[in-house]
Symmetry: C2
Subunit: 304 residues, 2 copies
């Protein structure tokens, strides 16, 4: 018999959303989040929070949602499960800093439950991850981002970080460019109870990883946000943001799934960067910082 974590995880993500938004606003020093709440016709809704035009953050969103009801056909196909009632909740965030020297980040943590006709939980899993997309690569920033997540994961099992780090490198990749979207982080999906690891274990693990996000990312922003940058570095950031869009629109399962299941478009596409460029065949100069970034994105590194 499976225990439901529905209300506990929902409460957790809403509280975390408040805390992350407060920390981001504090780091920005100028902009504040605007909130849009929305309802889903078939059950549930969400709380979209958007920041824009800040001193540090050019655009970002920190969203939560809890949706439930009868599993739509598209989700039955996608998840390869039987028709049933479901509950899903999650927090999802993307932050696009103005400065090309401050990396973009994305994170999400979510929980899913399925019920039998008597309302008993028959399947459940946790999922999530956080990854970093620099435009100029400071190795110590990538190492810090990974180290914080490794430390959080190691408290549960030392095999988790290497496994979920590799999954992240594999998932956040533009195969048509032969490049990673960024320098990775962690990514995990379908963490279901097993005889060795119960739901409680995965719930605590997922919460711990979600809690680690602020410490993994914001110290990097603090280090880089006041650095001077040149116009040509902003240009390079906008070209690289194009690769971010390519990943999200061509490859990202979450985005495509959201669009194909009539998710709330503006909450899904808040992940796209504010200003983006595509120029023809932009190639970095040999031995430049831009060239080194691409070299690292081609061949994922171990950062810790």
């Amino acid at each position: 018999m499976l225990v439901s974590y529905q209300s506990e995880f929902s409460d957790f993500i809403r509280d975390l959303q408040d805390r992350i938004c407060a920390a981001v606003e504090n780091m920005d020093g100028e902009a504040t989040f605007r909130e849009d709440t929305w309802q889903r016709e078939q059950g549930g809704g969400g709380r979209t929070r958007i920041i824009a035009g800040g001193q540090v953050f050019e655009k970002g969103g920190v969203n939560t949602s809890e949706v439930y009801g009868r599993l739509p056909d598209s989700m039955v196909d996608y998840l390869k499960v039987a028709h049933a009632d479901f509950f899903a909740c999650g927090i999802s965030l993307v932050l696009h800093p103005h400065s090309p020297l401050v990396p973009t980040t994305h994170a999400n943590y979510r929980y899913f439950e399925l019920y039998n006709p008597d309302g008993v939980v028959v399947d459940q899993w946790f999922a999530g991850g956080a990854d970093l997309t620099p435009y100029y690569l400071f190795d110590e920033d990538a190492a810090h981002f990974h180290q914080v997540q490794k430390t959080a994961a190691d408290r549960f099992d030392p095999t988790y970080y290497p496994r979920f780090k590799q999954a992240c490198d594999q998932y956040f990749r533009n195969p048509h460019r032969d490049e990673g979207r960024g320098v990775g982080g962690t990514f995990f999906d379908y963490l279901r109870p097993t005889p060795e690891r119960d739901g409680q274990h995965w719930k605590e693990f997922t919460m711990a990883m979600a809690e680690a996000f602020v410490e993994a990312y914001l110290p990097i922003v603090a280090r880089r946000k006041a650095l001077f940058f040149e116009k040509k570095q902003k240009y390079w950031q906008e070209i690289r943001r194009g690769r971010y869009v390519e990943f999200n629109l061509i490859h990202d399962k979450g985005t495509l799934f959201g669009l194909k299941t009539n998710g709330r478009i503006e909450s899904i596409l808040m992940s796209l960067p504010p200003t983006v460029r595509w120029d023809y065949d932009v190639l970095p100069e040999p031995n430049s910082p831009e060239a080194r970034l691409i070299e690292v994105l081609r061949q994922p590194k171990d950062w810790v």
Copy 2:
């Protein structure tokens, strides 16, 4: 027994490429095309021509390619045909004007052949179309673009224009936004010989439609290129360009097929606009020109 149009159509598209590029340069008055020729390892290659930073055209490409050899597995799956040798050639163009008052256009015309082991043509078809994406809608421009194509098509069969106009509205659509990409044009695919219409007929039709492109588009550019526009109109163009990117990366079969079959990335993605914006939940003011554009994109109109 099918007649091959391989060399005739190849010669035609290369000559047309020269003439379109000359007409576009002439209209721009400043920028000229840069040419990249490329080879395909398994057979064939292409001639990519890019214009950028012009007086009128901010970015554009007019490309031709001829590829042949053994049909890759991905194409066997996609086309639902048997393993065979193939030949394909086409011209493909996208022009992104600087001014938000000048519409973006896209066109392509192509020919495909399959052979049996003796090298005899066993299947063949023509395909193509041209469509218009305004940011501010001048009804007379949309009407002109459609009228020129209708006139060209009517010389072959008066049922073609209505059929291919409807196919264009259906194809160039962002269902996730419930909007057309633009105001349409024509779109046709798999024009195969039948007892009533032989390959010669479809070849002549496709060539006539391709020939009509310059007359359909450039007079619109001539009318609008010198008009004054405001900064907020440029902003709106960049937001709408985001929808163009969404269509090309999420829905366009040609783009996705190219990326998944290891096509030449930079030649495929030359279709993406130069500068693009995504802001959260941008809504036009009621009764504004921006609101009217969206209204028309929601519900395709008959223009002629």
